[in-house]
């Protein structure tokens, strides 16, 4: 069996191997429109550099989204008052936050920025579904987004002292007499140097340094610094020491966070996590070492590390090595099918239902229940239940059956660029559109089997495929192994 012979006319262009890899790994789904953008920017390397300066990229479609969920404008005391007076319970506010994230991922032109925002939201995880920190959770996400391509040191400072984090990991109720160790432990173990690089004494001293950062819970919900709650006296954390004499411990906190951000073990941990997310589950030590070195040499700046990563031979050789997470799968399906999602008007609206679709695959977005963030490895997202759920989503959306309200799907006839068209050429065209690669012989065979259409059969406007068979064809392409990876 062979693919359709080379034909010059109207064949949809796809990005070449390396460009395809960069763009599919660092976006929520490669589309024909995105490929055009990459070409107009002069190729993947220049496009990536352009994406690293998100403030220079117009992004009007995303600005409109905020108005879809008016509750997101409220935070702190307002969000709490709306919660207790049942105007909008906190969990439904967080549903809207999760939906807003999913829609951003579908629509934003700042794809690399959004991907990195999600990456850091997991690294510095505060689950979206918890009480009472939900009152500051959207602001927490916005804070991370504002630092997502900046310096890790600034990101760490902002995240650790943010009221959502202070409440989630019990810092907000810590006292000088009984320093709560929760945030201190996770900060060392997860956010910075990592397990086995610190002792119990390091945890205790970190907990003392962090005392004083409070939140006026159940009242104003504002963060404040409480000097009476700060445990003074000499402290030592790894190689960091400080007399910690002032009752205002904010400066010593800043110094500790700066120290930790620049620690080689932190550099290695960040480098490793980036490599697992963007290269492979078991990244070679050489790559991790090089990225850690770039991180330290550039004052914890994130952009140079990303440039080094995409330029590495390890990255170049990693095609197909990463499985899409549940939310990546759902978002990519919307993008691949070109579904136009409109302002929601009811429970069944696509902008609302997309959250249940994502949950059905096994993980609501930003809802991971532990401080360690969503697992990044393939195994976590390769369960039989997930596969069945993904196929369900692909099937329902390939047919345009669910979700249907406030969403516009392409009509079956519109998937065919010209009539009549030979079936093998149509499959190739759809493969290029949805998978961004030419159809393989295996895919063509599967499409023939799924539709019972011969390779050389002519597809006309009144062919059975157009009348009722297109859902089967689209679902087959969405269910190819290629679509499950990024």
């Amino acid at each position: 069996m062979t693919v359709a012979p080379q034909a010059s006319r109207a064949r949809r262009r796809v990005l070449g191997g390396y460009s395809r890899l960069v763009v599919s790994r660092f976006t929520y789904g490669l589309t024909p429109g995105l490929a055009k953008q990459v070409r107009s920017r002069g190729g993947a390397t220049d496009w990536f550099e352009w994406q690293l300066q998100p403030e220079k990229i117009r992004d009007r479609g995303v600005a409109d989204l905020a108005g879809w969920w008016p509750g997101l404008a409220f935070s702190g005391a307002d969000a709490w008052n709306r919660h207790v007076s049942e105007v909008q319970p906190g969990w439904t506010l967080m549903f809207d936050y999760q939906r807003w994230l999913l829609l951003r991922r579908i629509k934003t032109r700042r794809q690399v920025h959004e991907v990195m925002t999600e990456f850091w939201e997991h690294h510095l995880n505060v689950p979206a579904n918890g009480e009472p920190f939900f009152v500051h959770r959207k602001d927490y996400g916005d804070t991370i987004r504002s630092h997502a391509l900046g310096r890790f040191e600034d990101l760490l400072q902002a995240a650790i002292t943010h009221p959502a984090m202070l409440m989630y990991l019990d810092q907000a109720v810590s006292t000088a007499k009984h320093p709560n160790e929760n945030l201190a432990r996770e900060m060392l173990e997860l956010h910075t140097v990592g397990r086995k690089n610190h002792t119990e004494d390091d945890v205790k001293n970190t907990a003392r340094i962090l005392t004083g950062w409070r939140v006026d819970q159940f009242k104003t919900w504002e963060p404040f610094y409480d000097q009476a709650a700060h445990a003074t006296g000499p402290v030592r954390v790894l190689g960091f020491s400080d007399p910690n004499a002032s009752p205002d411990g904010r400066a010593v906190t800043r110094r500790l966070l700066t120290y930790l951000a620049h620690h080689p073990a932190t550099a290695e941990r960040i480098a490793h996590r980036l490599a697992v997310k963007f290269v492979r589950d078991d990244p070679p030590a050489g790559l991790v070492d090089r990225l850690a070195r770039v991180y330290l040499d550039n004052d914890t700046a994130i952009r140079p590390v990303l440039r080094a990563l995409v330029d590495s031979p390890e990255f170049r050789g990693s095609k197909g090595s990463k499985v899409r997470t549940p939310s990546e799968d759902v978002v990519a399906t919307y993008r691949a099918l070109g579904v136009k999602v409109k302002r929601p008007t009811g429970d069944k609206s696509a902008a609302h239902a997309i959250l249940w679709q994502t949950g059905s695959l096994g993980a609501f977005p930003q809802a991971w229940p532990r401080p360690d963030g969503l697992p990044l490895t393939n195994q976590a997202w390769s369960s039989p239940a997930r596969m069945m759920a993904s196929m369900q989503v692909h099937w329902a959306m390939g047919g345009g059956w669910w979700p249907k309200e406030d969403a516009r799907y392409r009509r079956p006839a519109a998937w065919v660029p010209r009539y009549p068209m030979r079936f093998d050429r149509l499959v190739d065209h759809l493969s290029r559109t949805i998978l961004h690669q030419p159809a393989t012989p295996v895919l063509l065979q599967a499409c023939c089997e799924a539709t019972e259409i011969g390779k050389r059969e002519r597809i006309t406007r009144d062919h059975a495929l157009i009348r009722w068979g297109m859902p089967r064809l689209l679902a087959t392409i969405l269910d190819s192994p290629t679509f499950y990876t990024r």
């Binding site: 089997e449 192994p481 499950y484």
Partner: protein
């Protein structure tokens, strides 16, 4: 992948798959012959363990009342369950009267309660405590649940060994390298598009074409799907309705346990099932025997579990149920006729192997201060490991790493 699983996958030939597809599509055409083939292809359960998790931290002091501890009544002037109303009373404890449907099981020695159990150190966060209880491997960063480790103690990698009733996000206890299924309903376990409009099995054939050679994790997961779809056929053929005149009551828990019973009756090698029931988080309106949230949920629990064993009939001879919750509630009632987050709790064990009709555990004595907990005297893993040891004949050290039980409760008969 271990050696022992490879022949199974190798044997899953194209022809075998098509047999499964044909069954799924037009089973009446082929009748029982092919059904028998499918059934024999599936595994045989060593034993069946059903874990019912009462989400939100149920109040164990209402479910199993320490009527002889005077602090219980002084700390709960409005919500204490009167001693005179209790069932299966001994000199110290008694069951909440809304567990009445379970009384025949208790009296037949098929149900026991263990009091003052829980995590060794109090954890009052619902999410964190659930994680800790279900991970049951303190100090490890690997997110592998105890039930997944239990499934890993044999060589079988069948995805049919574990089943999370309820679908969605599976409980932590089941997560890990061993595959399992998750669904609200058996009929949800299917490949979308593999339906009555596709009697020739074109959908599955095309998927098979694409995934046959797919490597690594995804390919393995898809092969598990194909296998599960095939091997679940006897379950689909099992009537969805209850047998033996069983009534589960009308609750989510009843519906979930009815699905569990159907899976078990299908006899396809399922060993572990999880069922979640909530919301037991009663900071307000615990109430009395006449009103409130406690009596309502307790009725659901009693009816559903009783219906489950009635429905199973003789299939239940190999089934053990454990009922637990992430932590218990305070001893003293709060200002809202409710109870705040506490520590120790009760666990129930029902069915196969249980030395029932009695209460286990060491009573610590209650204290009625504002923040008093029921003190934990029995690590919850003591109960679980006795069940695992008695029913599965495996080393409990591999299921509960780092845990050694000091003294046996004597809760289970060895099988």
């Amino acid at each position: 992948m271990t050696d022992s699983c490879c022949p199974e996958y190798a044997a899953m030939t194209r022809r075998g798959l098509f047999t499964g597809v044909a069954l799924a599509g037009t089973s009446t055409l082929f009748g029982s012959t092919l059904l028998t083939t499918a059934a024999s292809a599936a595994g045989v359960a060593r034993s069946v363990l059903v874990v019912v998790s009462l989400r939100g931290a149920a109040d164990g002091l209402s479910l199993v009342v320490p009527h002889a501890d005077p602090v219980y009544y002084s700390a709960r002037p409005r919500i204490a369950v009167p001693s005179s109303a209790l069932l299966a009373k001994d000199g110290f404890f008694g069951l909440h009267p809304d567990l009445r449907p379970l009384l025949p099981l208790w009296q037949a020695g098929r149900m026991a309660a263990v009091h003052a159990t829980g995590l060794p150190v109090a954890n009052r966060s619902h999410f964190a405590a659930m994680e800790e209880v279900e991970d049951a491997d303190p100090g490890s960063s690997a997110r592998v649940g105890w039930l997944n480790r239990l499934l890993g103690t044999d060589g079988d990698r069948s995805p049919l060994q574990g089943f999370a009733v309820g679908g969605g996000v599976a409980p932590t206890s089941l997560l890990g390298p061993e595959p399992f299924l998750a669904a609200d309903d058996v009929d949800d376990l299917r490949i979308a598009g593999d339906d009555e409009w596709d009697p020739q099995g074109r959908r599955v054939r095309s998927l098979q074409t694409m995934w046959d050679g797919a490597p690594a994790e995804l390919g393995g997961a898809m092969r598990s799907v194909f296998r599960a779809i095939r091997d679940l056929q006897p379950v689909r053929q099992t009537p969805a309705g209850p047998a033996n005149g069983a009534s589960y009551g009308s609750s989510d828990l009843g519906r979930a346990l009815q699905t569990a019973a159907r899976v078990i009756k299908g006899n396809v090698g399922v060993e572990v099932l999880t069922v979640d029931h909530g919301d037991w988080d009663m900071h307000t309106n615990v109430g009395t025997l006449e009103w409130g949230r406690m009596q309502n949920l307790t009725k659901q629990l009693g009816s559903a579990l009783a219906g489950f064993f009635t429905d199973l009939g003789s299939h239940g001879d190999n089934v053990t149920v454990v009922v637990l919750s992430e932590f218990g509630r305070r001893v003293k009632e709060n200002a809202n006729v409710g109870l705040d987050h506490g520590h120790g709790n009760v666990m129930f064990v029902l069915g196969a192997g249980v030395r029932g009709g009695q209460y286990y555990g060491t009573w610590p004595g209650l204290s009625g201060q504002l923040d008093s907990d029921l003190v934990v005297t029995t690590d919850y893993r003591a109960v679980l490991s006795e069940v695992v040891a008695a029913r599965f004949d495996v080393s409990t050290a591999s299921v509960f790493p780092g845990y050694t039980q000091a003294e046996s409760l004597g809760l289970m008969r060895s099988s």
